[in-house]
């Protein structure tokens, strides 16, 4: 029955590529945004993988949305490559600029309502946090605006589509102790932020076959991602201008402090010579170091 098909939505973010060799800083230590390449954020990638998991297990419809400048469609493309999305949403308007997490959540909430031809999403996934903002607020606030029960730090989930029930496994950090694993059952719809340690597993032949099929479809789709892309402005999205962008952002940034650069404790040394000699020299270095530590 088509109407019982799961509807999965994912919210993602285009972030600076902090991987080695790609990131560039200004002389004052702040990020040089012009020089640094932007990519799909690593946490958004994990959320996209969770959506693919749901698609493989239950044959879900997947929509992905993001708020950002026009270039953010690259992140949508990268996400589609991971989750074989059926629909991509870009919410892009100058008046969205300067948004804090709450104003962003307002845009995303409105966007999610427009996904799946306006039908309600069963599960919304978001990343744990963004690698540039690091607040981890946008997900929960969007959940709150949607009125969906929220589950953070999720490391695994399963869905009983027929009975419209989800079972999620999440890490609950308790200060000073190890993380506790909590398993919760909840009726759909729900909002999930995925923990970075999440790794989808496919344990039957059919799941693997379906996984590869989706991956292949995703490659084909992402090559023509524009066919799946819908771009919304504030007007076409129908958001209240007072709730988005700078006017919709109650957050006041009082001060930004630079994280002091850690003192370099690593020293690289290149050992020359033939293989045997090199290994001997490296081994000696290591044993010397251990000796020093022991003293």
């Amino acid at each position: 029955m088509e109407s019982s098909r799961l509807k999965i939505s994912v919210i993602i973010k285009l972030e600076p590529d902090f991987s080695e060799g790609n990131v560039s800083y200004n002389s004052d230590g702040t990020l040089n945004r012009a020089e640094t390449k932007s990519i799909l954020g690593p946490h958004s990638a994990v959320a996209s993988m969770a959506a693919l998991h749901a698609k493989v297990m239950h044959g879900a419809d997947v929509s992905v949305g993001t708020m950002g400048p026009p270039i953010a469609e690259q992140a949508l493309q990268q996400s589609q490559l991971l989750c074989d999305a059926d629909e991509l949403h870009l919410y892009s308007d100058r008046i969205f600029a300067g948004a804090d997490t709450l104003a962003t959540a307002e845009v995303l909430r409105t966007g999610i309502d427009k996904m799946h031809d306006g039908e309600k999403s069963d599960i919304v996934f978001s990343g744990h946090r963004a690698s540039d903002g690091e607040t981890g607020q946008t997900g929960p606030q969007t959940a709150w605006k949607l009125g969906y029960p929220f589950f953070g730090n999720v490391i695994d989930f399963s869905v009983d589509v027929e009975n419209r029930l989800a079972r999620v496994t999440r890490l609950v950090p308790i200060q000073g102790l190890y993380d506790v694993i909590e398993e919760i059952e909840a009726p759909l719809p729900i909002f999930i932020t995925i923990h970075p340690s999440y790794k989808p597993t496919f344990t039957t032949v059919s799941q693997r076959l379906s996984f590869f099929k989706c991956q292949k479809e995703a490659r084909d789709r992402a090559a023509l991602y524009k066919n799946y892309l819908k771009t919304f402005t504030a007007q076409t999205l129908g958001v209240d201008p007072k709730l988005v962008g700078l006017p919709g952002s109650p957050t006041i940034v009082y001060r930004v402090e630079k994280i002091p650069r850690a003192k370099t404790s690593r020293m690289a040394e290149i050992i020359e010579g033939s293989n045997q000699d090199q290994i001997r020299a490296v081994a000696k270095k290591i044993t010397d170091m251990i000796k020093v530590k022991e003293i």
Partner: protein, 623 residues
Amino acid sequence: MEKFDVAIVGGGSAGLAALKQLSNLGKQAVLLESGKAIGSKSISGGILYSKKPKHGRAYNVEDVYGQEFVTEAPLERSITKYILHATSNEKVFSIDLSSAHSYQTNFAYSVLMNKLNTWFAKQAGESAEKYGGGIIPGVHVQSIEWNNGATIVETNELERFQVKAIIAADGVNSEIAELTGARQKFVPEELYQGAKVIIKLPEQIMEQRFNISENDGAAHLFSGDIAQRHIGGGFLYTNRDTISLGGVYHYDSLLEKVVEPYELINKLILNPMVREFVKDEVPQKEEIDKTLPKEEQLRIRFAVSKLIRTWQDLRQSYYSTSGTEDLIKSGKYKTREEIVARLDMIRKDLSSKYRTRFITDYVELEYSAKLVPDGKRCRMKKPNHKNVLFVGDAAGRGIFVGPRIEGINVGIDDAVRAANAISRSLDRNNFDYEYLGGFYAHSVDESPYTRDMKQIDKDYLKIFLNATKDIPKDIIGSRYSMIFKLMSSETFRGLAVGFANILGYDRLLPILESEETYSKVPIELAEKLGKRLTSDYRPSIPSIAERVSKLKYDDDTVSHIKVNKPTSEFMKKMVLLCPTKCYSIEDNQVVLQHEGCIECGTCAPETQWRHPRGEKGISYQYG
């Protein structure tokens, strides 16, 4: 438990052909491959043949994948020259065997297995999908169980599932054969050990050097002193812009006179003819001045590496028609002259700024090794067990008759026969031993390849003898002159071959495959008739450690090999015979370090040998 019609174990060229053929027949099949990706564990010499035997039918690669195979598959070069060289020190005597090579041959292409199997997998996978099947890499089959008429496949990675029939295409070290008890492990007398290196050489330099046209290629075989008195020989095949160079030696002759497999390759590389074949212009970095500041040293190191890489890539494109076209099409360069100018500029930069020297040497890309079944000795008489059908190397099927070496095409022929047999069983829902296995065994028995593994083909022999007719018979030795005389006469040849075939290969092989044939006679030929060749550079041959360090592994934490008796004589020989030196001796006991293992199976006769778990172990880039 999930149910599927057919499981194919192993994603080499035979397993993939089985999957494609089953899909061609509209049947559902799932192929399980233990490597991270299809092709990552496949290697071959390698030449892929398509044959047109006079008697019987061979199922060829194009029968499975369609005629587009020839135009679309990533084939290297069409091998049109086939030359055997007898070597002794600097002397080489050559015999053109191109006519024997083209005997009953539609085409023969040099291939690199990783690329080719990836293409096969794309075709087979897409077809299989239509019938609810497909390819699953990264899965290692652990056991097969028969329970109340159900056949259950168990893997390290997935839940158990049920099938109606299985095709075992898991190679020469077939675990399925061992698990099911379908056959004993192969013993050294039944095997060859092959080792190979891939050498880089720009396209047009290759074409000029080997005197071949743009799409054609050459195969050169070597026997004589390069064999170091072992039974077997060396080979050199031209690929598009690489060379496959290696040796294949009978395993028991290696056990008798133990030698490191890479030493045999090294000996071959040092032969003056081979040295001249593989040589190229190679940049050699100059030592960086140690008195410079550390940062400056690093900067120079990176700058030199980058320039060299650019120079190599550009040169590779420059010496290739399509490469040059692509460069000009991309708009980066307008003419060939511009590319030359840029190449010169980088070269000048490298030599003047960084004192890089350009020397004559050769460049190795990948080292590999595998065991090869000698079909004459070890083909399974009944390549079936219950509802499991064995194909290709797993069934011990490879053709080694004098200079004729075939394997990939044999595996494909088996695979088609197995797929056809299973399709017939699926149609009737009859998987009885006779209806399925008996039918398949009979079909394999009718294969022209099986005939070639059993007896001498007198027409092939005639062509071979014709090619060697100018050789003075006294050199060939008293042992063979009688045979040669008989065989050279039209009337006697039929009788002689008939008589030889009555004797059977079993009794003929010790005469045909001997040190005399592979070493002594060629050395004498080279000494007496050979041309003296020279090569005035010394190739810098990488050590085995350097060769292994270039390979890509995903090491498992546990070893997939367990040594049975660390003090046995056989295991002590592994210290030298293991192609990647995984064995060493400590306190008179043989110790294994599995991390460098390339899964050839050389040590399998006296170890508990398994393939690594899914995704683990070696991943070849060329194969």
